[in-house]
Amino acid sequence: MSDPLIIGGRSLTSRLFIGTGKYSRNTLIPEVVEASGSQVITVALRRVDPGSNDNIISHIPSSMTLLPNTSGARTAEEAVRIARLANASGMGNWVKIEVINDQKYLLPDNAETIRATEILASEGFVVLPYMSPDLSAALRMKEAGAAAVMPLGSPIGTNRGLRTRELLRILIAEVDLPVIVDAGIGRPSEAAEAMELGAAAVLLNTAIATAHNPLLMASAFRDAVAAGRKAYLAGLGPVEETASASSPLTGFLG
């Protein structure tokens, strides 16, 4: 069954996006790429060091689509500068905008993110903004030229799952863009849940990078995302509060 995800003119067969942070060694990255089957990988520009012999980029297989992120940006202007730096250093024109003004919970600043989206989309970037799941903000990001929106399931690194489930459901229903659930997913079952809800993809890092066996966990997420997507396409049966009788009460009406 062909079910590609199209973003920025690129056709992706995997709906699992992964990260590069928090690993005990960079040499795990290509192994995780392989085990996860992922095609898109995000990398914080702040960590990229072309002068180093252990540069993170050198560990990423060339077949991957790089999604540089603006981690560390506190304003739209900083995010824009980081995105331009990433582009100038040959990391392509995709960017995950991450503007965070709150170092306690690491929650994104939607207003600044919208501004950065507008500027970078007009410069030809394929913009994927990381956001708090808010419908009006998501619609403004779409208007500003975002290629997808990336609402959080829970705060970054918490592994708490889809605490924002109701808001994600609304975004998926109302925003005519791929909705990629980013951050907070701690278990494969939660990734499957996001996909069943109709998310276009999920992005996760901590759950794989801090697992006891990152490769096995990467492959578990690969299966969970695929299963969740299949379930979504198959159309889940309705959930009922009460049991439904196999002999209906109005059956006598014929």
Binding site: Y23, S24, V48, D49, R84, N101, D102, Q103, G157, T210
Partner: protein, 369 residues
């Protein structure tokens, strides 16, 4: 209102003798809580918690790995100048000591930078004594201009400055401020700082806040442990960090737990901080401030540092000299004696052997992009 008002308010409650009332059950309850408050912090620093270090360590490690991953940020301090007009009883750079003072020339800064950068280090922390004549803001700026060629992050540890001066340095490319209060207990502070502008307790206490207002990306604070009751000092440090986090959520607040080290003079700390106490302090910081960076310096011996890396620490110095020009010149006077003289390569190897990735670069100077 600044943190001084909080210090005054808390001053009346920090009779740490009263913390003996807390029990192991209190500690266990605190460890189950999601958000810790002032009382929880007291509990974690109390004598009862000293018997629960293993449980605290497990929680601290889980939090650290989940928020920061299996990584350790490395940096190197670089001493630019040791001229100082202050007399502080515990420091070799004190104005009363007669030794040949030194400040690096631009060319020497370049050579020193080159030597440090060759070890792979990309984050540098620059230090000076306090002397508006020998190492004014304009001198620091001149050095920063050179250092930007070699490093992706430049932080300062210099005497307290005004908000405008911090802004000036930020515009020059400085992204982080480290400033230790040394002692939060005001009366003890006065006794230890005998001469010079550093005597003014409040000017130092408010400086990290001025750094936040100036827009530094990271602000790192701490108390020099050993000069006063460590429970009290750790309590004030963590409360100060929480105060700054609450008021300046955009700024990354970090804490350090430096223990007093031997230096040129005779001062001996009145309060011994044992290894167990140091561990308790670091664990309390991590649990109370789950997302704060925690820095561990080479004041601690290598064998102990190798253990502390699993308990909440996120940043370590490596390849350290506390002398002006210590990486390229001869004959300087160290500010204090370090205990871990390992090279960057050796520290990196130790981290890797412990399944931690040494991180050299975690920022880009954006000022001119």
């Amino acid at each position: 209102m600044g943190f001084y008002e909080t210090v005054q308010r808390l001053g009346q409650q920090t009779d740490t003798e009263r913390w003996r009332q807390y029990t192991k059950e209190d500690v266990k309850r605190t460890l189950r809580k999601e958000h810790l408050d002032e009382r929880d912090l007291q509990i974690l620093l109390s004598p009862a918690a000293a018997d629960c270090l293993e449980e605290m360590a497990r929680c601290a490690r889980r939090l650290t790995r989940s928020h920061f991953g299996h990584v350790m940020q490395l940096f190197t301090p670089m001493y630019l100048a040791d001229f100082c007009i202050n007399h502080c009883t515990y420091c070799s750079f004190s104005s009363i000591y007669d030794f040949p003072r030194k400040k690096l020339s631009p060319e020497e800064v370049r050579q020193e930078a080159k030597a440090i950068a060759a070890t792979g280090i990309r984050h540098i922390l620059i230090l000076t004594g306090e002397s508006r004549k020998e190492s004014p803001v304009s001198y620091v700026k001149e050095c920063v201009n050179i250092l930007r060629e070699f490093f992706s992050s430049v932080s300062i540890e210099v005497n307290p400055l005004s908000e405008d001066e911090y802004k000036e340095l930020k515009a020059a490319g400085v992204d982080g401020l480290t400033l230790y209060q040394e002692v939060y207990h005001e009366e003890t502070y006065r006794k230890l700082h005998i001469k010079g502008p550093k005597k003014i307790y409040r000017n130092r206490l408010d400086a990290p806040e001025r750094g936040c207002q100036a827009g530094f990306r990271t602000v790192n604070i701490g108390a020099l442990l050993g000069m006063n009751d460590w429970r009290q000092e750790a309590f004030f440090t963590a409360m100060h960090a929480r105060y700054l986090q609450d008021k300046y959520p955009e700024c990354e607040i970090g804490v350090s737990a430096p223990r007093f080290r031997p230096f040129l003079g005779e001062y001996n700390p009145e309060h011994i901080v044992t290894d167990r106490a140091l561990v308790q302090i670091i664990l309390a910081y991590r649990l109370f401030l789950p997302r704060a960076g925690i820095t561990l310096s080479t004041r601690e011996p290598s064998a102990l540092r190798d253990r502390l890396i699993h308990l909440g620490v996120t940043k370590m110095s490596a390849g350290v000299s506390t002398e002006v020009g210590g990486h390229t010149l001869q004959g300087g006077t160290p500010q204090f004696e370090i205990s871990d003289g390992r090279s960057v390569q050796e520290i990196s190897g130790m981290l890797r052997a412990n399944s931690l990735q040494p991180v050299f670069k975690d920022w880009d100077i954006l000022e001119t992009v």
